[in-house]
Amino acid sequence: MDLYEYQGKSYLARFGIPVGRGTIAESVEAAVAAADELGYPVALKAQVTTGGRGKAGGVRVAADPAEAASHAEAILGLVIKGHSVKRLWVETAAEIAHEYYLGFTLDRAAKLHLAMVSARGGVDIEDVAEKDPGAIARLEINPLDGLPASDAQTLASAAGIGAEACEGVADVILRLYRCYIEGDADLVEINPLIVTTSGEVRALDAKVTLDDEAAFRHPEWSEFAEAEPDDPRERAARAKGLSYVSLDGSVGIIANGAGLAMSTLDVVSQAGGAAANFLDIGGAANAEAMTDALEVINSDAKVRAILVNVFGGIVRCDDVARGILEALGRVQLASPIVVRLDGTHAAAAHALLEPHLSERLVMEPTMLAAARRAVDLAAGAGR
């Protein structure tokens, strides 16, 4: 789960990392009231879980109420990389003397945690990594050993952070590591971490991605429910325990297993179409799961054809065929459905489906043939 900036800051604050004072606002009036309360100048910042909001005009500083109102109005109407801005974070503007970068994530190749610190904060760190990799100090951390205070100091100085700020920054590095580990985050980034003209250190931005697999041991994460997906189908699918991602195409996909589902998306693309979604129905692929999956896909107006791609290993294809027929009895589908069942008991499954085949229920023997048929049907139905 990607947290919004304001949620990320509250998460950092739990671990004692200094953040600015601010308020969340969902309207121009609320933003101006928040700014009046905080005192000018204030920063108004679009709350979206994507990068590049500064370049898109999503971050502005206001010197007075009139400016706060006009900025709030402009930002609340923005769409940044497909994310419409619904909330603003209003924060006391800081007088910045220095901007740094701090981040922790997993180095999947080394299977160790990775700390990154740079004195070149406030810009896209991937750009820095590409053009000037030497400007980022890195340290791999074995979770068995943790991060000793002396290493945090060494990191800060290796990154070229001035002696006067080193101690404060090292303290934030240690706290951020705790937030990353104990907070079960996949990624924590402070960019920038600033030192103000009066020498205070604070996180001016926060990017936190929580590990969904660890949600069971973090009841406090329920306060981040606003970071749940905007897409109503993604919310519905999540509630039903389905692994679903909404996409832009017109072929609805149901497959068993994440790898096969991804592969199905690719094969639809090779057949000249585009998938409307990723949906892994999981190991069971029974009538309940099939009904849930078909309901979610059927509610998607983009969908012009549905492709069910199941490979039976432990799960028997005849059971899946029964599940599909039962689900079709429960859900009135708006689109034709193409079924490909292969693997254990495939012949029995084909015999079960045979009497029910029509223009609306089509069977194909291979993944590629099924994808081609679904793409054709999706194109035809659009005419």
Partner: protein, 295 residues
């Protein structure tokens, strides 16, 4: 021959009395796997379908000589179960448990490496390991595999692996061993580890590698293929059309920033001499041609 497990492998199932453990453990037994023991703390002294149950892995090892473990324990207990097996001297642990937090996996991986370097962990979130006709540990349906080699399979996915097994078996091409390393972020065993074992296995003549978006394990595998492999490799990478920043089912299947795209992985593998297929059927066909060419 085969890698990691064969007809001499003696398997203890940790969690044999649970729903997953009994379902898959007994299927593995029915396949012909030498399932010699089960472990469920507090149920020692009992038995299931003639398999003796012990309170601890150490007791199971002492009584039966088990040398491999199948961990079918819920996620809260799974890392501890793997470490218990390692401490009892088990050399191969296959863990099918899903949804283990990444921090716990990183800790487990590093503890194994430091304290029990002789123990190989496959998984977590592994679909299992099968050496057809000899030993099946995990959730693979044994019927879709064909004994006799000469193809070794290594994969991050479950159903895509079954698809690959099926395509080859239907064409009469057998497998030496099929290893599902799992789709999580910190797998105990990587592509490179399995490729090295296949390279050393005299009966494996060619290898099929099934990867997906996320991480850099396929890129590392490509480098290994270029530098250290003499056997032909056919690869397939899922997720060419996956959008960045969205997790595609597996915790590890995510394109983040510039890293982990299918395109980068395909390019790396092709540059290292692997034949890369565009879809699973094509991978099967390519491998059949490779194997017939070797004969």
């Amino acid at each position: 021959m085969s890698i990691f497990a064969d007809e001499t492998t003696l398997v203890v199932v940790q969690g044999l009395t649970g729903s997953q453990g009994s379902f898959h453990g007994l299927r593995n037994l029915a396949y012909g796997t030498k399932v010699v023991a089960g472990v469920t703390p507090g149920k020692g002294g009992g038995s299931l379908e003639g398999i003796p149950i012990f309170d601890s892995v150490a007791e199971a090892v002492a009584a039966t000589g088990a040398n491999a473990s199948f961990v079918a324990v819920p996620r809260l207990g799974a890392p501890g179960a793997v470490l218990e097996a390692a401490a009892a001297g088990i050399a191969l642990v296959v863990c099918i448990t899903e949804h283990i937090p990444a921090k716990d996996e990183a800790l487990l991986y590093n503890r194994l490496r430091r304290e029990y370097p002789g123990c190989r962990l496959i998984g977590p979130n592994s679909p299992g390991l099968i050496s057809p006709g000899k030993c099946n540990i995990g959730i693979t349906a044994g019927e879709i595999a064909l004994p006799g080699g000469p193809v070794g399979i290594v994969s991050r996915s479950g159903t895509l692996t079954y698809q690959a097994l099926h395509e080859l078996s239907q064409q009469g091409v057998g497998q030496t061993t099929c290893v599902g390393i799992g789709g999580d972020r910190v797998p105990g065993t990587s592509f490179t580890d399995v490729l090295a074992a296949f390279e050393d296995d005299p009966e494996t003549a060619a290898v099929m590698l099934i990867g997906e978006i996320g991480g850099s394990d396929e890129e590392l595998a490509a480098r290994f293929i270029a530098e250290s492999m003499t056997k032909p490799v056919v690869a397939y990478i899922a997720g060419v059309t996956a959008p960045p920043g969205r997790t595609m089912g597996h915790a590890g299947a995510i394109v983040s920033g510039h890293a982990g795209t299918a395109q980068a992985k395909i390019a790396a593998l092709e540059a290292c001499g692997a034949r890369v297929a565009r879809n699973p059927s094509e991978a099967g066909e390519l491998m059949v041609r490779v194997v017939r060419g070797l004969a």
